[in-house]
Amino acid sequence: MIELNHVFYTYQKTPVLSNLSLSINPGEFTAILGPSGVGKSTLVRLISNLITPQQGTIRINNRYLIQSDVLMSKKERRSATEPIGMIFQNFNLFPHLNVLNNLTLSPNLNHEDRNEVNKRALKLLEDFQLSEKSMAFPDELSGGQRQRVAIARSLMLNPEILLIDEATSALDPERKAEFMAILQELNRKGMTIVLITHDHDLAKTYARRIITLASGSVLHDTSLES
């Protein structure tokens, strides 16, 4: 459950989000649409605690990042974002680590059992047809492979919510369909998906809810539930 209430966000002097409210329920597959520069990335960056709003309330699974304009402590925000995984437009893989180590770095640093972490990573790589690439480095992968590594990396932390910022724009139609099939499958297993995209058709095909942003807040909120 993601809830935003009366959220305001301003970059230095540019107001981006103003009085934005929305809530996303567990298990939803939501697409966020809107013109370039409207604040879609800003929205997911707020939810994943990469930036903090000046005003408003943001709550994730009953834990607050900010409550009635009062920012929670770093520690509280950190634990509030635990259920969240994020995929960036350019994936931000770690270029100095091979695919396997990209996946295992965070769990290993959190002192999880190394054997178990390794097994989990290899299983995910297998699921995503990346087994042969486990020793490859990010710059040796195709765009589609990088994207699958990015998903696998965030799945290593067992997120309940996956935020995906514009991760399909660089892909050809076939790769796009593959990627969306992965997301659908994850969603079918109960994961909440929030997908930012410019692609209205893509949104309509896969998402069950479409939120359109305009001038800093929600313009349309449409459920496509049949």
Binding site: N49, L50, N90, N92, H96, L105, S106, M135, S154, L157
Partner: protein
Amino acid sequence: MSYLLSITPYILEGFKTTFLVFAVTLLVSLPLAIILATTSLHAPRPVKRLLSLYTWVMRGTPLILQLYVIVFGLPLLIPGFFTRQAIIGACLTFILNYTAYFIEIFKGGLITIDPGQWEAASTLHISRFNTYSRIIMPQMIRNSLYALSNECISLVKDTSLVTVVGIGEIFRNAKEIMNRDLKIQALFIVAIVYLLFTFIVIQVFKAIEARLRMERKSL
């Protein structure tokens, strides 16, 4: 030939000092610069200013002047300081000077790192310390290798400057022999030693680079 053999041991005797200055400078300056460069990234502004001032002064004045100030100047200010051990003052000078250069090299390696790396680390719940040590630092060092190898070659040659504060190293010992025998051969030996030394430094860096490439292929 026998002349060459007879003077070589004395010249090589001076190489001990040359190597000592080189090794101590590297062993202290490199880690120090790695730490200072990475922490300066998110340090408060006054700390950043101070660090810039430091690197400006150290890079903006001749090393030979710095040697004079620290080895001869400081004892004037603080009587008894370093007077017997010029080598300590010399090493200190080299450390201060080379740390400044290394900091700037590492900073160059830092600015090419995509800020998205921090964001990815944050969304993967990797702590700030671990982000520095496991993600930022390794990339910074990789990005800096080429410039570092150049700087290390400079360091090899700069060690000959300690002769101006009266420390006997390879160059000074050779000069003594030349002045005594009025023969130039000693200088050739010095040139060969420096060439061998820099050759080894170059090979070490090549090996590190090759290792990084190998890791890519075979890990």
